[in-house]
């Protein structure tokens, strides 16, 4: 084992130097019991005495100005406690993803923008009150789609005068440049170019956003549905002008996140304000339609790619131009949408690249984190184009990728994020902390039976066609956005009860289980001996929000360090009992023993009983920021075999193989579940999910779960998962992140398999039956014409 470079502040705990007894085991998740019995209380299940019910009124137009708003009839309705509109909330700011926004704007920039909030004694009254609010709008023509909008003069700022305009509104392209792309194309013997588009898509969490806010005159307590309690606390305190000390956020259980609940959201701000005005607790729950129209979604994109290669398959140049529709606003200072060209710069080795991205504001819904916010779009275009090039070269797609295997990364998103003039030129070859993408690709092609793969043949032997496809990916790791703090606390009481306090949320990824397992391993106790407290800003230290697959790689080292520190303190008690030095002790499975003579041992619990009655052992761990080198990323490859009926357009995925480089899985059972989740997203994005807008009114047409078609049990393909392990000394037990990254390659693998089945390149997602039928008809027509 190589030297530990664990990313912690202060002393790096030495490696355990023994076999692992908890980490790496497929244990059941710790909170499964509450979830299968219905005992788990989610935010919308919380009921407080005297609680009111809040609702918000949403503008039905994508672009409009409020001329007049009259709440008198609604206020007269018995049971209505308060109504907030722009008229009585001047100067109020929400902090959505830490971006200040006007609480109730006069100028409406997307359908679903809030124009009023009501608190009433029950939800029926609140809904009735909304119906009685009279709003007169000046309806404006919505901005055209992104590509078209780019050709027109820059519109006046989409928001109010006070709206803090952001860089992307200026349409300044963001560029990644390396080498000499023109020279690269001159050297190329084969050049391939094409355009790819990806659609608007949504998170589709089964729990809609909900919260209960309770203000007692001094302290605000919120039972929230958020992926991070600490960042929500910060954002909420900032927007309400409260001391963060007086804001407590609780998220015991979360009904799915996928980025939609990455930060505090406007609904929480409204609930808090309604509670502060009325002096009573307020519950707010969003309807399913509100979840569609009043929330961020995935960036839709148009990506032009031009690639050059030598006949032997060596890449010489890549040119990319991407247009990203950021809707009415983008979160996180446009950080996410910048990543769309980053993958092209790094996934495959290519000396010359020129990659350009332009964000365009429109009057579609806002954009933000959405399970692999840009990875899935970026990887779809890049890996589709790699297959296109492989076919032009007459090289197997797997061999082509191996030929251009990159062992280094040349531009990090940190640089991409910070460059202020929009251009980054970066050619340094920075090694990865670990990377076994080659092994993943090999596993994925072998398991699907790649040797059976044949080039597509145009025949008339019936409408059913079979094919295989692959795609690879890389995704960032432990992004560590400001404020870069990730801390954990282990508390051991006399008698030996071990408590782990972590300020994260278990969003369904098994965060509670994984962090508990890391603590148990490092302490040398059994998995069940650690009680994990999560999802509360009270009693925990600052921890990041669980998005970007960052919980394990960011919190893992902190938990390990906290547990190691506490263990050494327990060892002092054990050393006294065993009459030895603490430095000679080891622990495992609840026993502490002398390393040179394991027969001399004492139980962990007994050692703790040696503590003074008033003694408490506290271990604190703190994650250090990512170093400038090496680069940290996760990788993987997926292969798909499918059958497509070219007459009905129906795609039947016969099998999907996923081989993921997560470093070492702390819990392979939970990691496998993550892969299933990624494939669910990937299949939907590839084939069925699409947010459609009325071109005339600009309104969303698909704001429900019937028209927005997410995969069901009948669409879910058989999946085979491989989790090859590698050592990564920077993370706790080599555990990198597993989560959003798992969906990145799925759409491209499906699309490449469809080509292999039909000989048709599908470049526009989703690949719905109508597109397949039309393309197959055209292909048949061409074949006839050629005869």
């Amino acid at each position: 084992m190589s030297e530990s470079k664990l990313l912690v502040k202060g002393t790096v705990p030495p490696p355990l130097d023994r076999e692992l007894t908890v980490v790496g085991k497929p244990l059941n998740r710790y909170d499964a019991l509450e979830k299968v019995t219905g005992e788990a209380k989610y935010a919308g299940d919380i009921k407080l005495p005297g609680m009111l019910y809040g609702k918000t009124l949403h503008c039905p137009h994508p672009r409009a100005r409020i001329l007049k708003i009259d709440t008198s009839k609604a206020e007269a309705l018995p049971g209505v406690m308060v109504i907030l509109t722009k008229e009585n909330t001047k100067g109020w700011r929400t902090c959505w993803y830490e971006v200040p926004e006007i609480a109730f704007p006069e100028t409406i920039t997307h359908e679903g923008t809030e124009v009023a909030a009501v608190a009433a004694v029950d939800v029926v009254t609140a809904r009735k009150a909304l119906e009685l609010i009279e709003v007169e709008y000046e309806v404006l023509t919505p901005m055209p789609p992104a590509e078209e909008a780019l050709q027109k003069p820059v519109p006046p700022l989409v928001g109010d005068e006070e709206y803090p305009g952001r860089e992307m509104f200026d349409r300044k392209p963001f560029v990644i440049q390396r080498g000499d792309v023109e020279k690269g194309f001159e050297e190329a013997e084969v050049i391939v170019e094409d355009t790819y588009t990806t659609q608007v898509s949504h998170h589709g969490t089964i729990q809609t956003r909900a919260c209960v806010a309770s203000w007692d005159g001094h302290e605000l307590t919120v039972w929230d549905a958020a992926q991070g309690v600490w960042n929500s606390k910060r954002a909420l305190a900032k927007s309400l002008g409260l001391d963060p000390e007086n804001v407590r956020i609780i998220v015991r259980y979360l009904g799915g996140g996928f980025g939609s609940k990455a930060w505090s959201h406007r609904i929480v701000y409204y609930a808090a304000k309604l509670s502060m005005v009325t002096g009573r607790p307020v519950r707010m729950e969003r309807t399913r339609n509100e979840e569609f129209v009043n929330h961020s979604r995935r960036y839709d994109t148009t990506m032009y790619l031009k690639m050059g290669a030598k006949k032997d398959g060596t890449l010489t140049a890549i040119f990319q131009k991407a247009i990203v529709d950021i809707g009415a606003a983008a979160t996180e200072e446009n950080y996410y949408c910048r990543q769309i060209i980053w993958h092209t710069a790094n996934l495959h080795a290519c000396p010359n690249v020129y990659l350009e991205q332009t964000g365009v504001s429109t009057n579609k819904q806002t954009t933000g984190p959405t399970r692999s916010p840009t990875n899935m779009q970026a990887i779809f275009a890049l890996e589709s184009h790699m297959d296109r090039m492989a076919v032009e070269l007459g090289i197997d797609p797997f061999d082509f990728r191996m030929k251009n295997y990159a062992t280094y990364q040349s531009v990090g998103t940190a640089e991409a994020h910070m460059i202020s003039d929009g251009t980054t030129t970066f050619a340094a070859k920075i090694p990865y902390s670990s990377k076994i993408l080659d092994e993943c690709m090999k596993l994925a092609v072998d398991a699907i039976g790649w040797e059976r793969r044949r080039a597509p043949v145009s025949d008339n032997k019936g409408p059913l066609k079979r094919g295989m496809g692959m795609a690879s990916y890389l995704v960032l790791q432990g992004v560590g956005l400001y404020p870069y703090v990730a801390e954990a606390k282990v508390v051991i009481n006399p008698g030996g009860t071990v408590n782990l306090f972590v300020g994260v949320v278990d969003i369904g990824g098994g965060q509670k289980t994984i962090l508990g397992m890391i603590a148990a391993e490092e302490l040398g106790v059994r998995a069940g001996d650690v009680t994990v407290f999560i999802g509360d800003t009270k009693d925990t230290l600052y921890a990041p929000s669980c998005h970007a697959s960052r919980c394990t790689p960011e919190m893992g080292p902190a938990v390990l360090q906290a547990a190691a520190e506490a263990r050494q303190r327990v060892f002092e008690h054990a050393a006294f009992l065993l009459d030895t030095d603490a430095g000679r002790l080891r622990s495992k499975d609840g026993m502490i023993y002398v390393q040179s003579d394991p027969s001399r041992s004492v139980s962990f619990r007994k050692a703790c009983r040696n503590m003074a009655p008033d003694e408490t052992i506290v271990g604190i761990g703190s994650r250090a920021p990512n170093p400038a080198e090496p680069m940290m990323a996760t990788f993987g490859a997926q292969t798909v075999e499918l059958e497509v009926d070219t007459e009905t357009g129906r795609v039947n995925i016969l099998k999907c193989v996923a081989a993921q480089d997560f470093g070492k899985p702390i819990n392979p059972k939970l990691c496998t579940s993550q892969v299933y989740g990624g494939i669910e997203f990937g299949v939907g994005f590839a084939l069925t999910e699409e947010g459609l807008y009325d071109p005339r009114t600009g309104k969303l047409l698909t704001g429900n779960l019937s028209d927005y078609r997410m995969p069901t049990s009948l669409d879910f393909p058989p999946v085979e998962v491989f989790l090859p392990e590698c050592e990564d000394p920077y993370f706790a037990y080599s555990a990198k992140g597993a989560g959003e990254n798992t969906n990145a390659p799925t759409p491209a693998a499906i699309r490449n398999a469809l080509y292999n089945a039909t000989g048709i390149w599908f470049n526009d997602l989703p690949i719905t039956p109508d597109k397949i039928i039309r393309a197959a008809r055209a292909a048949r027509g061409q074949a006839k014409g050629a005869r």
Partner: protein, 171 residues
């Protein structure tokens, strides 16, 4: 979600059996069964994900049939038997389906889980030995965005004693 008091003529008296217990209440006639269970009886294990019969997280068993309680009026359940997730354990012990869901990690965020378990139970009550396809059909109306579906199928087949068969099929 809380309900308005409403006028007298809007109110109905209902009597039903919920989890083998007789319950009676005066409720608004437009109250859904999901609202009745959650707000009147505090049985919050029944989740509401869309409130329009699309996601299936509100699934309960009504006289042996899996139904969406968000699109069933509480008055429709008058005189009938309702089973919710809280009524699943048998004599204080987990129902085999619940244990199988835990063992197969057939849940992630857990929000769809109660409805998923009840759809599976309604299936097994009628067909003790379903095929994999039967299971897929039975839970087709229960959306899971986390991707627990493959594990749900395994869990249900294990309880049905068909898991080895499924694996033997080379699936």
């Amino acid at each position: 979600m809380g309900q308005a008091e409403g006028s007298r003529e809007n109110r109905k008296h209902v009597t039903m059996t919920v989890n083998e217990k007789r319950v009676e209440a005066d409720i608004n006639h437009y109250m859904t069964l999901a609202e009745f269970l959650r707000e009147e009886l505090d049985l919050t294990g029944t989740k509401v994900g869309c409130n329009r019969g699309e996601c299936g997280s509100c699934t309960v068993i009504l006289d042996g049939e899996a139904v969406y309680s968000c699109t069933t009026l509480a008055v429709e359940a008058d005189g009938r038997e309702v089973l919710t997730i809280e009524g699943m354990p048998v004599k204080g012990k987990l129902h085999p389906l619940q244990q199988a869901f835990i063992d197969h990690d057939a849940l992630q965020c857990g929000y769809c889980t109660p409805g998923m378990i009840l759809s599976a139970k309604a299936l097994l009550d009628k067909n003790a030995h379903p095929t994999e396809h039967d299971v897929r059909i039975a839970i087709d109306g229960n959306l899971c965005r986390c991707g627990s579906t493959p594990n749900v199928i395994e869990a249900v087949l294990e309880v049905a004693g068909r898991l080895t068969e499924k694996r033997g099929d080379g699936q």
